[in-house]
């Protein structure tokens, strides 16, 4: 009853067109009325407390770093480097896209920003070289969603806070599955372009490659600083964020000199606004989650799923099924915010490694970004690439299917994620 009321009011409000942050507040108010404890202070207190988190400060910092990098010439240099390395191979531009997507994933925490940057740089070139447009757009979208898996990652920070999971561990655990996503794309692209007749770029000389490497050196150094810094304990994830932001501003304004003060102001304004949008959502979810706790909803869900608790794999499979369906219609951040507090108790009871669970959850929601009916990365690729939504959907379909395949693989063999994480954490 309580569950139906909560989910019904939330989905009802979202369906009517209420922005998700406000829909969460509406569902919280419905729960208040149901529990006979209507009080405006519950809303105000939890909304303010939800935004008051030192850990989440990492979000504006990584957003600043990401925005500065794409506007300050760092992304462009990475694409140039990728082009000089693999551009001459058959289907080479596809490999350029995958390679650049992985590097950019290790610089930024947002799938939407990465996809937009990649697509605006590469899609016109691919179109001109005669690559099938839908498929190319699909590859770009699939490459874009590696960003939230490989650190730094804003969704991993959010699930870390929402579920009480170590963000440092989540960051280290994301590296291998993120790279495996890249490998999957490479294999599929090899297979897809086997028979195509495509224009290939001229092979770059070693001199050109060295030059491209030298120019992108400053950009590629950043993931080394972030991952190295977190692993050796020089800084916490929040501090890694600030270091990334300062470093990106330093490179963009003083080394590459592609960002003047006025542009920097604009970029900071943009990052501040994106921060507010994400954080207001997070804060609103805290209001809902406080009432979810008070209503003892997680216990009800745990009871519901209790028969599966003896078999963690089966439980994982069931949860992944639920998340996949929710992720198809809802965006990544709200899915994490709504489902994590409900699912975390049963995950703990079943003895599933919370870090593994966090990675699986985010990977699953990331796939939702490229599935219809609601997929933000799909939206970006259609508007940047100027192609039809249906065309983007059919282009991305095989890649989305392959991602679901690796998701199932990780359900069957959790060690693929857990073992490297343990190795990296030591």
């Amino acid at each position: 009853m309580t569950i139906t009321l909560f989910i019904g009011s939330l989905l009802g409000a979202i369906g009517l067109g209420v922005p998700i942050a406000f829909a969460l507040l509406v569902s919280a108010v419905v729960l208040m009325l149901h529990l006979d404890m209507f009080d405006s202070q519950i809303l105000a207190q939890n909304l303010v407390n939800g935004a008051d988190s030192y850990t989440l400060l990492a979000i504006p910092f990584f957003l600043v770093a990401g925005e500065v990098m794409s506007r300050g010439g760092l992304s462009q240099r990475i694409v140039t480097l990728a082009m000089s390395l693999v551009g001459h191979r058959k289907g080479g531009l596809g490999f350029v896209a995958i390679f650049a997507a992985i590097i950019m994933a290790s610089l930024s925490g947002s799938a939407v920003a990465d996809t937009a940057a990649l697509a605006s740089m590469l899609l016109p070139v691919m179109r001109k070289a005669g690559y099938p447009l839908g498929r190319s757009a699909g590859l770009m979208a699939a490459g874009g969603i590696i960003a939230p898996i490989i650190p730094p990652s804003i969704p991993l920070i959010i699930i870390g806070v929402a579920g009480g999971i170590s963000i440092s561990k989540l960051f280290l655990a994301g590296i291998v599955p993120g790279l495996l996503m890249g490998v999957t794309l490479v294999v599929m692209w090899l297979f897809m372009t086997r028979k195509e007749d495509l224009v290939v770029a001229e092979k770059a000389t070693w001199g050109e490659r060295l030059k491209a490497l030298r120019e992108s050196f400053w950009a590629i150094l950043l993931p080394v600083i972030i991952i190295g810094g977190i692993k050796t304990g020089i800084f916490t994830p929040t501090e890694a964020g600030v270091v990334a932001a300062v470093y990106a501003m330093f490179v963009a304004t003083l080394v590459y000199r592609e960002l003047n003060l006025k542009q920097l102001y604009e970029v900071l304004g943009l990052a501040a606004r994106s921060t507010a949008i994400v954080m207001f959502l997070v804060a609103a979810a805290m209001v809902a989650s406080w009432l979810i706790s008070i209503a003892q909803l997680p216990m009800m869900v745990a009871d519901l799923l209790a028969p599966l608790a003896d078999n963690p794999r089966l439980l994982m499979l069931a949860i992944m099924g639920i998340v996949l369906v929710v992720g198809m219609v809802m965006d990544l951040t709200p899915t994490i915010l709504v489902l994590t507090p409900i699912l975390m108790p049963i995950v703990k009871i079943a003895g599933i490694d919370p870090v593994y669970f966090g990675i699986m959850f985010v990977l699953n929601c990331a796939i939702g970004l490229i599935t219809p009916p609601v997929g933000n990365v799909l939206n970006v690729i259609t508007s940047v690439g100027n192609i039809k939504f249906e065309k983007a959907v059919s282009g991305v379909f095989p890649f989305a299917l392959a991602y679901v395949g690796i998701l199932l693989l990780f359900v069957a063999f959790p060690q693929i994620i857990i073992a490297p994480m343990q190795w990296l954490a030591n």
Binding site: L47, A245, L268, R273
Partner: protein, 164 residues
């Protein structure tokens, strides 16, 4: 109409400037703290607390800006299926629901601001009420914007923005 729009634009620009200032201060505070800890084995103890204050203010002021620019994340797919004649009424209903939330924020944050005004945060000594003041101001500004939109619907679903 034009006056309201200009007022909205000016508010938005002022808030944006404040947010950028707060963001830059946060970056400086946290960064200097890391440098001090590693370079000089010391630190600024107010750094954590002060940056949390600024963060809450950026979040809440930014939420107003996002409301003005209609950038709060939402789903509008279902809307497209409805007959056009219903839309203005649906839009009013949605605005009213949001207005309800904004009013609750305003009233609740007002009570909390008063309650926490002589509750001092342990390191900086800033009243904890200052956190809630951000909620109060946001509640007031949002209520004004939404009240205006109840009477003058402004095509709520004009630019569905996707942010992650």
């Amino acid at each position: 109409m034009a006056v309201a729009e200009r007022l909205a634009r000016v508010t938005e620009q002022c808030l944006s400037a404040l947010m950028v200032a707060a963001l830059v201060t946060m970056i400086v505070l946290v960064f200097v703290n890391v440098v001090l800890r590693y370079g000089f084995n010391s630190g600024i103890s107010v750094s954590v607390e002060l940056s949390r204050f600024l963060f809450v203010w950026v979040t809440f002021l930014g939420a107003v800006v996002a409301l003005l620019k209609q950038q709060h994340l939402g789903v509008t797919t279902l809307m497209a299926l409805l007959p056009r004649a219903v839309l203005p009424w649906l839009e009013r209903l949605v605005t009213l629901m949001m207005l309800g939330c904004a009013l609750m924020l305003m009233v609740g944050a007002y009570k909390q601001t008063l309650l926490n005004w002589d509750n001092l945060s342990p390191i900086s000594g800033i009243p904890v009420g200052v956190f809630y003041l951000a909620g109060l101001i946001t509640g007031v500004l949002m209520s004004i914007v939404l009240l205006y939109r109840v009477f003058v619907p402004s095509n709520l679903f004009a630019e569905p923005a996707g942010e992650e």
